[in-house]
Symmetry: C2
Subunit: 242 residues, 2 copies
């Protein structure tokens, strides 16, 4: 039995996945604590900033799956592993355990750390961070993450876009990985403070940015891209745990 513990920030759901390849699909989220990045516009600082590490609970895979099964009413669905950066946690045992019960696993990470257990994922979303984040992409690490996907892993690339530089970065991603599906998502200019549950959302600003992004993608004939908002932000604002 795998008893290596995972630092868990929160487990919640079922709710719908609000972003990317699984948008609209029912899911339970397991959010892990800790991240190797510090993006300027991070909207999950409570799972990143070590000031909040007392809220990250060490849990075994069995304890996590028990919680997931209670929330899902013991009916298998997709479990979304997010963070922080979930790739810094030892998640292989959890995935093994859950898959035996019929659960599917999706993971989203910035692509800075590749793990051999990525091959056991049903969906791997790599979300490399554009210039506005203040982070610098390690292209070699990103390539290792792409290669770590298994034969039955659905791979998706996702780029959050705040400005023209970010859009140029997304085009760079598209040209490096022309065969992979690419999701573009307007950034949330009004992320919550880490101790704030329900900051007001600039809905009109998000929609302006959707229109701008759709215009750029169609004008540039970047037809391989899919443009989607953060649906949960539109529905619930910055409220957590929904």
């Amino acid at each position: 039995m795998n008893t290596q513990t995972i630092r868990v920030n929160e487990i919640f759901g079922p709710t719908i996945q609000g972003e990317g390849a699984l948008i609209g699909q029912p899911t339970v989220f397991v959010r892990t604590g800790g991240c190797d990045y510090r993006c300027s516009w991070c909207d999950t600082l409570h799972a990143v900033d070590s000031a909040y590490r007392d809220d990250w609970h060490p849990m075994t895979p069995a304890a996590i799956m028990m919680q997931v099964e209670i929330l899902s009413g013991h009916c298998p669905l997709t479990v979304s592993l997010s963070g922080g950066n979930p790739a810094i946690q030892p998640l292989g045992g959890l995935i093994d355990l859950g898959r035996k019960e019929g659960y599917r696993f999706a993971l989203e990470t910035q692509g800075s750390i590749a793990r051999d257990w990525f091959r056991d994922l049903d969906v791997l979303t790599l979300s490399p961070k554009p210039p506005s984040s203040g982070m610098v992409t390690d292209w070699q690490k990103l390539a290792e993450c792409v290669e770590a996907a298994g034969p039955s892993t659905q791979l998706a690339l996702k780029v959050v876009i705040f400005d023209e530089n970010d859009y140029a970065y997304a085009r760079e991603i598209a040209s490096r990985y022309p065969q992979q599906s690419l999701y573009l998502q307007p950034g949330n200019h009004t992320p919550p403070a880490p101790d704030q549950e329900d900051g007001v959302i600039d809905m009109a600003g998000i929609m302006d940015r959707m229109r701008w992004l759709i215009d750029r993608v169609t004008t540039d004939r970047l037809y391989s891209a899919t443009v989607l908002p953060q649906l949960h932000t539109l529905i619930w604002g910055n409220l957590r745990g929904v």
Copy 2:
């Protein structure tokens, strides 16, 4: 050369697909005129009501593809065939022609008329109409449409939901077709009049209905369903041609 004409209400794009299986993907829309239904809440009456038939232009497949190629800059993408009910038009020749040029074809219909050329579609969305529409589903016809999908046709079911009766109808669809992907979409309570381009949208009402629907789906463990809004309505309201 296929010169059988198709009654076209409008051709526009590229823009993103706002609904269902292809949500967020760049597409050119070909909207045909005429429908065998009269849903109480139809939001495309300009393509349904024969009072507007003077705006439906008979076009050959070649003329339609020329327009699609101009709009798409001769870069192949997905063409969305919608209506009205596009199944009442002879679209097989258009699909053949466009596929030779590398275009992909998606069609959405209520599932009242099956066509042998459905098998050539890349995506077939069947959107049977729930009780609030005032229409009655012919289950035999719907089954014929499901069977008309080809081996490489991605089939999706979609139900627009206004109330509890509609939701019960969606569950009936889910139990009849447990293997098919099912999209649930809150209805637009504020559809435009046929001669009105930009009626005001009840955005808060749509989001309330999203929350209700997500709550129902997760409470009932209907995990096979995907819950999505009409994205284009959120972005552009009832504005046409975007």
